[in-house]
Symmetry: D3
Subunit: 159 residues, 6 copies
Amino acid sequence: MNKKNFTHLDKSKSPQSVDVSNKKASLRTASAQGIIKFNNKSFQKILNLKSKKGDIIGVAVIAGIMAAKKTSDLIPLCHNIPIDDVKIKILTQKSSNSFKLICSVKTFAKTGVEMEALTGVTIACLTIYDMCKSLDKKASVEEIKLLKKSGGKSGEFTT
Amino acid sequence: MNKKNFTHLDKSKSPQSVDVSNKKASLRTASAQGIIKFNNKSFQKILNLKSKKGDIIGVAVIAGIMAAKKTSDLIPLCHNIPIDDVKIKILTQKSSNSFKLICSVKTFAKTGVEMEALTGVTIACLTIYDMCKSLDKKASVEEIKLLKKSGGKSGEFTT
Amino acid sequence: MNKKNFTHLDKSKSPQSVDVSNKKASLRTASAQGIIKFNNKSFQKILNLKSKKGDIIGVAVIAGIMAAKKTSDLIPLCHNIPIDDVKIKILTQKSSNSFKLICSVKTFAKTGVEMEALTGVTIACLTIYDMCKSLDKKASVEEIKLLKKSGGKSGEFTT
Amino acid sequence: MNKKNFTHLDKSKSPQSVDVSNKKASLRTASAQGIIKFNNKSFQKILNLKSKKGDIIGVAVIAGIMAAKKTSDLIPLCHNIPIDDVKIKILTQKSSNSFKLICSVKTFAKTGVEMEALTGVTIACLTIYDMCKSLDKKASVEEIKLLKKSGGKSGEFTT
Amino acid sequence: MNKKNFTHLDKSKSPQSVDVSNKKASLRTASAQGIIKFNNKSFQKILNLKSKKGDIIGVAVIAGIMAAKKTSDLIPLCHNIPIDDVKIKILTQKSSNSFKLICSVKTFAKTGVEMEALTGVTIACLTIYDMCKSLDKKASVEEIKLLKKSGGKSGEFTT
Amino acid sequence: MNKKNFTHLDKSKSPQSVDVSNKKASLRTASAQGIIKFNNKSFQKILNLKSKKGDIIGVAVIAGIMAAKKTSDLIPLCHNIPIDDVKIKILTQKSSNSFKLICSVKTFAKTGVEMEALTGVTIACLTIYDMCKSLDKKASVEEIKLLKKSGGKSGEFTT
């Protein structure tokens, strides 16, 4: 069988969840990134604030972790699985007036956690937007993508 | 007062929700976009499928509408408000192997719906990723941003 | 315009939520019924229990009220609106070994509460099933339907 | 001990969850059905639509899958367990102006998935009602019942 | 009518939600407190940490705000209403090795926000417990109570 | 390593979830208590009611069980895990006009269920408050604390 099928569509092309009952549970990890960009003036204000208190970042991390746990409630065909770990890191990229966020998720389950990592990083980015939108409505979220995954039949993936 | 403050931080820079009890309810709208990009081969496969059944798109639209209604559960400092309308449009951009999604939200409330539009469009993009990730794990979500908003004290905003 | 259209489909027959931003808020009510039928032996056991403690019924009422409040989270195109009242009544129908449940909902909003009444009554019926399934797996839920609605442009409806 | 007890009631007849900590996890499956009936005129309109686009059906399938994953949030005494698969099939029954929906669920857990199958099929039926209620408010949902289950101590069950 | 009835029980003493459809919406506020007490050694460690980063407090504030918005999902007979503001303050009480938390909520609605204030303050206290339980499992939450409420027919209340 | 660290803070004192991917799943239990106190007059009214119908208690038990299942949605850094059992007992303490509630939770997982027991008991107490607040707004919730836990690396804990 060609692995590169639409596994979320059945033969009649209707949406379906993937039956994982025959899969073996194993350690699976995934990391995803997202970047939120500001104009220079806003970014400087946020950096000034961050050096003192870090609250914007703190709220975003919590929002991202909570969202990752809620992924199966948001992405219709995602399985609900126990999550062993969610970490969110936020890197300051001064040259581009942006923060790069990386969300890493682990589970021991029959299916991977790519969508959990992507959902976590995205909601964290949107939370930063929400915290700063009174300052800069034009901020954008960019380059949301899977960085790597491990575990399961499809094995390692790295960008 | 300078409008460009961090309204989500109090004087001691701790996170706070914005007190809207003195605001007047009014019609408020917001639109946001997001773009999901594939490699050419995957994009062609999706287009072939779409021309027949549209199921991937259909699932993404439903996921985005449901997520927009759940915004206050995801973005910590968002108010829970009744939503009058959520529309999600999906434009095929053949020249860039991508779909542009636009989510438009309306409410009659004391606070705006920017975060609802951004949350709706983002979860719709991630749902397309989920439906197609067996085909192309490297697809990315790009240029998530507010397109316009109307209503409320801060008035019109257009990119 | 013909009122009997699919208001949840747009011109291209894609699903959409109904834009209620131009509607006027008004008092709206709806009632829906559902019937859960048992075999005679199980029904007698439940009746014996009910005459003493009523706990099965009590759990079902709470489950139905909570589900009615969650309707917009379950039915994809339902609006999230504040609910003013949810009542669930349970009538014993000895001749047919069944309980008839009636859920009545009120709101002051731009859209009706038919789906809230139907969701409330259905989850209450399924909760009774859950509480009694160790006794009678063959119990069935029957005749779930809207009994009446009032308010809004489409006016009164009674079966 | 007589197996046909109210396992969801303790000795004093108060509601309780069932302690499954001593049970062994195993593959468990369940299927449930529900039927939604229209008047002939409405049913023909829906069929005409379905032959073209299938969107009503598509929305109902997604709603049912998402609801099945949320069962423990709706049915008070249901355990929250990882779900391995949810499938929803929709059969057109022309002779009775109705659709028969069948929801099949799989898990590898200490407790069965009857309630997940019943919740999934029911919310899918109610979603079809919601999508078509502007056309036919008198549509009813009928014969919601468990079709079969397998796995666990109580073993096979078939209607 | 005697105001001091069980408004959440009907004449047959069955639980019911309160019908607020005849009430007038008005500004309503409520504040509630909760206290979390540690042993002296743990409290000093937390204070040292707090003086530097405040992260424990920050997470608790976010958890409390999010929980207040979810109150109608947790307290079965609470109405779902739009919340205009949630503030959580945390006071350090050195003499008793404790933090006093105060949650203040505002709405413009037909029913009060006592339960929202109580739910917010309680989940914030439990979040502090969770963040510190590796240090001091014996910490306790004390004196959760309503401090004041205003608005609505029953008028002002102050402890 | 000193076990008594803040395991929910990383080296830079930012909040983090605990990575449990290397832990072994095992049977874990936890019990927590909470006490709700009334004035004497209200307490007598509630007792009179309780002797007849028990509905207040019944609603509180259901609310507590449902809340315990939702713990990971409320406490930001709690893992989402399958819960094997939740029991809530309510003891009448006539000498102090109070009810003592005890919530006991079991799981087979990589992490403990202290927060589930605490969340369950607390929401059950707040539900009793909600059911009785028309009678006695000054009722308070007291002495919420962990009673015991078993399982996992940190072993037995008893107050």
